[in-house]
Each structure stands twice: as C-alpha cells, then as structure tokens.
C-alpha cells in the first residue's frame, strides 16, 4: 500500500483522543508486516519493535507519532432529537457549521451540524462567529429514536475523506497526526533496506491532543535511550504570518529549543545534510505541544528530537500536506537510525 492509500485508510478510521481502540487495531495490523513484535497496552498505545539483530551496546530508540484525533462528544439530546455537543481537543467553532459528522452511538449515525439560519439573526450577530453552544447536530431522528441510539458521551467524528490536490498535496481530516503514523510505517520500510544495530520501538500513541498522555506512559514502558517524536507543524498560508509557518515543499522540519536534545538534534541535521535531504528549522522556546514534551522527562530523562511535517489548516477538516515531506522524513529517520553505532552514548551523553 503506498503512502497516500495508507493515509486515506487511516483518516477513515475514528480515533478521537481516549477512544483509540479501532484505529489502534488498524495500525497494529499495518505494523505487523514490518516489525518483529507488535503489542498494544491497556490505553491502546501500539508498540512495534524492529531490530536487525546485530551489534553490541545497542541503543533503544523510541519513535512516536500520535494516532488520536480531535473530535466532538454528545452532551445533550433535545426534545426534537437535535444533538448538542462539546469538543475533544482544540476545535475552532468556526469550522463547524455545515460540517458532516458521524455519531458513534449504538450504531454509526450520519448527521450534519446546523445553526440558526442567518435570516433569523440580527445583522450584528451575522458578523460574529457562531458559538459551539448555539449549534446542534441534525441526525434526522426523532427524539425517541435519537435517545434510543445515542448516549450522552458518545463520540463524534468529522466526515472528510482524503482528497488529492495538485503537486503531491493531499487534504483530509486528522492528518494531524495520522501523517506521523505514516512516517513511522515508511521508516520501517526504509529500514528494511538498511543494516542497523539499534533496537527500535515504533509507537502510535494515544491522547496526545488532550495532554500528551499516551507518550508519557509508553515512554515509561520502553525506557528508551533516544526518543524521537514525529508530529505536524504549521504550513504556510496567506492568512498566517510567515514567521510562524513553513513552506510546503522544502522538506520536513527539525525543532530546536529546550525540549530537544542539542547533540541529538545536531546529529539528525548532520544526517540530513549527508544524504541531501532538505529540512527547515523550527525554534520552540519551551515545552512543545507534541509527544516530545512527555518523552523528554520520562524516568531518568530521555534525549529527544522532534521532526515535523508542515501542515496547513491544522485542526480543521481540510488539513493539507505534501506527501513528499513524509517520504523525506522517513528517509531521514531511517538513515539516522542506521547511523547509530556502538559508540552512540559517547557523543550523546553529557
């Protein structure tokens, strides 16, 4: 399965933070083809272990990308069957009106998000964004049927399948961070072409969007020598500042700052230069909003590096990225992992 098809498959599977069981199963199957050992923990973090079985003093490397996605949750069903909801993870309410959703009740139910029609609003209100509390999901059901099939607390996902745009760009919901999971899979494929001595644990983590929780417990379990987080960062768009965003066609982004280990990060940059892989640098002045945040401070501390894929319109239903950046990130990762020799702790440790 090529990268595009794999991502298309991933984004179609629901996996809102805290409700990752189904996406975990799909990812676990995919990992199985490329890993010696695949396990899922009680929180549904998926671990794929991959070794090449040679060398002494092998570093344990953890490569993590989160599989959870933002979404919505049912809070109330009214007397006409309309469904009120809240958000899980950061959702801009302005993306919601007119959106198609799936409610994961006793069965999967289609619905659309509606609000009071504009002609019934005061002119002043029409200039304002509709607030989430003033929206409702229309599942086309009477209150009786809705209450029979849907419970308070049921999860809601957006319907927004992958669309192919020009120049290798694709758009879909939840590319944050299913794109990162695709990087993991591509890295496994790349590693199959190389010799490496590291003991590599690929981890698809849970609950990143609600506070990097899956990364915290999975890093504890593995106790890695080196931690690598794969996530998305902001792609350039006309409505955002150039300082905060990255070009879509200049390779992946390597982050620098206190959350990242300087020597490790330098080594990854050196690898990129050695193999002619384009990359950009993002400066992160504090703990990042990625799994790297939790990985770094697990147990006795873990030297951590963060590699990111530029993504436009993050946390919307039309997240957009360039597939080429996924290939480049995977190539970089595989080459970096293969470059780790028995002397790894000499250059890495302070």
């Amino acid at each position: 399965m090529d990268i595009k098809d794999f991502i298309a498959k991933l984004v179609a599977v629901p996996g809102v933070s805290g409700y990752e069981e189904r996406i975990a199963r799909v990812i676990s199957e995919a990992f199985n083809s490329y890993c010696q050992e695949v396990r899922t923990d009680a929180f549904f973090n998926v671990f794929g272990r991959k070794t090449d079985g040679h060398g002494e003093n092998m570093p344990k490397v953890m490569v993590a990308a989160h599989m959870d996605e933002i979404g919505l949750m049912v809070t109330h069903i009214d007397e006409k069957g309309f469904i009120r909801f809240t958000n899980i993870g950061g959702v801009d309410p302005r993306i919601l009106p007119g959106q198609e959703v799936e409610i994961h009740g006793k069965k999967k139910l289609f619905g659309v998000i509606g609000a009071k029609p504009p002609h019934l609003q005061q002119a002043e209100d029409a200039k304002k964004a509709v607030e989430m509390k003033d929206m409702a999901i229309d599942a086309g059901l009477s209150a009786e049927h809705a209450k029979e099939l849907i419970n308070i607390g049921d999860i809601i996902t957006f319907v927004s399948p992958l669309v192919e745009l020009k120049g290798g760009m694709v758009s879909a919901k939840s590319l944050d961070d299913r794109a990162g999971v695709a990087v993991l899979l591509e890295t496994m494929k790349e590693l199959d072409k190389l010799r490496f001595c590291a003991d590599v644990y690929f981890v698809a983590t849970v609950q990143e969007e609600v506070g990097v929780r899956g990364a915290a417990i999975s890093t504890y379990r593995i106790a890695p020598d080196i931690g690598i987080a794969i996530d998305v960062t902001h792609g350039d768009t006309p409505d955002a500042s150039r300082d905060e965003t990255f070009a879509m066609n200049k390779g992946p982004v390597i982050a620098v700052g206190p959350n990242m280990h300087p020597r490790l990060t330098q080594k990854v940059m050196d690898t990129a230069k050695e193999y002619g892989i384009d990359y950009m640098v993002e400066v992160e002045p504090g703990p990042t909003g990625t799994d790297a945040r939790a990985i770094q401070i697990s147990r006795y501390g873990v030297p951590t590096v963060l590699i990111e894929i530029p993504l436009r319109y993050m946390h919307t239903t039309v997240e957009t990225l360039n597939l080429d950046n996924i290939r480049k990130a995977a190539r970089l990762l595989a080459r970096f992992i293969a470059s780790l020799k028995e002397d790894w702790n000499q250059w890495l440790n302070y």
């Binding site: 009214d78 309309f82 950061g90 801009d92 309410p93 302005r94 993306i95 009106p97 007119g98 959106q99 198609e100 139910l109 289609f110 659309v112 998000i113 509606g114 609000a115 009071k116 029609p117 002609h119 019934l120 029409a126 200039k127 304002k128 964004a129 509709v130 003033d134 409702a136 229309d138 599942a139 086309g140 059901l141 009477s142 927004s160 669309v163 192919e164 745009l165 020009k166 120049g167 290798g168 760009m169 758009s171 902001h234 350039d236 768009t237 006309p238 409505d239 500042s241 905060e244 965003t245 066609n249 909003g289 436009r312 319109y313 993050m314 946390h315 919307t316 239903t317 039309v318 957009t320």
Partner: protein
C-alpha cells in the same frame, strides 16, 4: 426516484453555468414530452400537450445553485473568489469544493486555531479574507488547472440518513427539478409547459424571460425552501417545519400567491389527505416574483419542500415531504378546472 435526485444534486450548476443540469434533465424528460427546447438565455422548456385544448399551465423550478466564482490567482497559487448568490460566509470555512469543468478539487482552509488570537475566533471570517487551496505553489501551476471565471461548487455527496432524510448540496432547487421530471411523466388535461429556469439565485433572471415567452394561464413555482425548525429559534419563526408536508406560500418578499390557486391547492390537499403547511415567514423570494408580473400578470402560486441549512453544502430534506409535494402537485394538475 431518488437516483435522479442524487444525480441532480451531485452535479455542479452555479447560476450562469447550468449546462450540465440542463443536459441531465433534458435526457430524462425527452421520452415523456412532445417538445424540449432551450431558450436564448439557457432556460430549458418541455412542452406536453394536454387532452383538452386551450389553457396553458406553467411549472417552474430553477436549475441553478449558489456557489463560488474564481476572481483571482495569487502568486502563491491560492485562488480568490466571490460568492454567486446568497451565501453566509461562515459556512465556507473548512469545506471542500470542486472547481471548473474538470472538477479540480480545492479546500477552503483557515489558519490553525493555535495561531489565532482569542478575539479573532469570535469574528466571522469574511469572503475577502478567504482563499481556495488547490495544492498549487505558484500562479503558473494554478493557472494550468483553473481559469478566472471558473465556477466552484461544494464537494458534497447525496446521503440518505436518519428517518427518511436526505443530505445534499443544491436541494434548492434540484429537488424542484427532480419533482418536475417526475410530474411530467404523467398525463394531464391541459397543456403543460415545464420550465427549468436559470439564474434564480442571482435575481430571478431566467424566470423573467420564461414568464414572458410562455405567457401561461396559471403558473406554479416548485421550490426547496427554508426550514428553520431548529434549536434556539422561536416556534413562531419556523418558516416551515420538516416532515409536515409541502409548504404553500401565501406571500414572500417577491410576490403574493394568487388566492384562488392557494385555495385550490389547499382543497386538493385536504380532500386527498395530503399533509401540507403554509410557509410562515414572508422573507425571501423565488421565480414567482417575476412570473406573476409577466406581460399583463399571471396567476402564480409556489409550493415548496422544506429544506434545513439551505444554501450550505449540507442541506437536509425529508423524503416524505418530497413525495407528498409530488402527490399534491400531481393531484392538483389532474383535478384542476381552469
């Protein structure tokens, strides 16, 4: 029956670009009528001879839908656009569109929530702040796929869901078009001119020409109309209610419905146990606004299917309302004495 509605709602036909809709309707009605022709501005007219001579009945539904038109291509490959017809800009955010003849996919994004100020999030995004991303990274690359003046429609599939509900774009007024195609398959006493108008959404322009050229004895406009029976709306402000049958207009901003025709429609519904409702608010307008003023004036009425979230990518209609609207109109056309 639903198959044609699906096809009609899934093809693009923004005001001024109704060709594909016209072709699809024309192909579907040709076997059932005596003549089909397209007038000088793109209206499609189907003539079916009645069993009696003399009177002319005009039925009218509009083919066009609201959408976008490409007005500029930026150096960074992004497309600028304007709305065609009445669109609340707030429904455009985070949606997919298909642009031009080759249905080039594009997305209307918004900068990430992480990059916004809290205050920004409270304001609606204006059309002039928006752009369409087709994945092109330069003006040249975008220009190969899209031209100025290309129309864009929502990328939205026909979905049946819930209890006999349908979600689709352009139910206003492909629902009307589909109903007229069903109606014209039957036989009637009077000559029927089934008209599929252009440019309703930009000012009822096709209907102006149709009213004059057909010069009917009576006219019935068949529409998908606003249904506002949603939370936070007072009941007395419900324009129409879903599942309560076809909505008969008494007045709107563009016309008064002819009282005789309204009475005939109501009696037809009552006699035949067909549920119906009156369209309760008086805002908005439709092709009746032009047809009733054609030449010396035409007795005109409007019958509509309630559609929630009209003019959005996800309008919702009840299939029972749709079937009952066809039933009401078919019974009326068969039984009316002019």
């Amino acid at each position: 029956m639903a198959e044609l509605l699906k096809q009609l709602t899934e093809i693009g036909g923004v005001s001024g670009d109704e060709g594909r809709v016209r072709k699809l309707i024309s192909d579907n009605i040709s076997p059932f009528v005596d003549d089909v022709y397209t007038d000088r501005i793109g209206n499609l007219i189907a003539y079916k001879k009645g069993k009696k001579d003399g009177k002319k009945i005009m039925l009218c539904a509009h083919m066009d839908e609201i959408g976008l038109i490409i007005t500029g291509i930026q150096d960074d490959g992004m497309l600028k656009f304007r709305a065609v017809g009445g669109i609340d800009p707030r429904i455009l955010v985070s949606k997919r569109v298909l642009i031009g003849k080759n249905a080039c996919p594009g997305v209307l994004g918004i900068k990430a929530i992480h990059l916004q100020e809290v205050e920004e999030r409270k304001n609606a995004v204006k059309v002039k702040q928006m752009y369409i991303d087709i994945g092109a990274v330069s003006r040249e690359e975008a220009g190969q796929a899209v031209s100025l003046g290309d129309y864009a429609v929502f990328d939205s599939k026909y979905v049946e869901f819930g209890e006999d509900k349908v979600k689709a774009k352009a139910l206003d007024d492909r629902a009307g078009c589909a109903m007229l195609v069903e109606l014209i398959k039957q036989e009637y006493d009077y000559d029927i001119y089934t008209c599929f108008s252009v440019q309703e959404e930009v000012g009822l322009r096709g209907a102006e020409v149709l009213g004059y050229s057909i010069n009917p004895d009576i006219a019935i406009v068949v529409e998908g109309t606003t249904c506002s029976d949603v939370p936070d709306v007072d009941e007395h402000l419900y324009t129409t209610e879903m599942g309560k049958g076809p909505a008969i207009t008494i007045m709107d901003a563009s016309s008064y419905a002819n009282k005789e025709l309204v009475e005939m429609l109501v009696k037809t519904a009552q006699k035949n146990d067909i549920p119906f409702q009156f369209k309760k608010t008086v805002t908005g307008g439709n092709d009746a606004g032009r047809i009733h003023l054609a030449r010396e004036g035409v007795k005109t009425a409007a019958v509509s299917v309630p559609c929630r979230y009209i003019h959005s990518p996800s309008s919702v209609m009840d299939l029972n309302d749709y079937r009952n609207t066809i039933r009401l109109l078919s019974t009326f056309l068969k039984g009316c004495e002019l």
